[in-house]
């Protein structure tokens, strides 16, 4: 028998998953959560020539 999972309140279903806005994550807005990765990627971008 197929098990039906309850969709979390306020969630939208897209691409086969439930996506729910969590305003608690807004506190990270504007912050760099991965500074080492940011530096690494910016270094790669600085080498790139775009068409």
């Amino acid at each position: 028998m197929k098990k039906f999972e309850k969709k979390p309140a306020g969630a939208k279903e897209k691409f086969g998953v439930n996506i729910k806005v969590n305003k608690g994550l807004d506190k990270f807005q504007g912050k760099d959560l991965f500074p080492r990765k940011t530096e690494e990627i910016n270094k790669i971008v600085s080498m790139l020539t775009f068409r």
Partner: protein
């Protein structure tokens, strides 16, 4: 992609996502951030890693939670969702180590046919100190990948 995926939570602007990886080592909170790069205003860096209990994040941990495909499929879903909201933005990403970058290349290669329906997919190579964005090929080592959402097709 027809892989199992985890449900997502996202910030109001949908540039930060979180989900729980549930596997043999328990529940591990994952966090993903899309962040504008310094030199190219349309190019956004996709970074993801584990969120520790103290709120710090770590993109070098090897979780070994036995759900790698499900985690990667979930991260791929965030790229679909993000580029649905910000279709003019290109996404750049790489692994935290060369072996992880190779892992991403294999994952892209394995799913290229489906991914390429919705994205232009490129690899980044370096030749004589110059980085080049080239069409993705399964047999090439890259230092990073760039994906760009194809225009949505209107079905009449």
């Amino acid at each position: 992609m027809n892989y199992p995926k985890y449900d997502l939570e996202t910030s109001s602007s949908e540039d930060i996502f979180e989900f729980n990886s549930i596997g043999q080592k328990g529940d591990i909170r994952k966090i993903i951030q899309f962040k504008q790069t310094d030199l190219h205003p349309r190019l956004y860096n996709l970074a993801f890693g584990d969120k520790n209990e103290d709120g710090s994040v770590d993109d070098r941990t090897i979780s070994d939670n036995g759900d790698m495909e499900k985690v990667l499929a979930t991260v791929a879903t965030t790229v679909y969702e993000y580029t649905s909201n910000y279709s003019n933005r290109e996404i750049i990403f790489s692994g935290s180590t060369p072996s992880r970058t190779r892992l991403y290349r294999m994952a892209i290669g394995k799913n290229y046919e489906e991914l390429s329906k919705d994205f232009y997919i490129f690899g980044v190579i370096v030749e004589s100190g110059v980085g080049k964005k080239v069409p993705f090929s399964n047999n090439t080592d890259y230092i990073a990948f760039i994906v760009e959402r194809k225009p949505l097709k209107l079905e009449l």
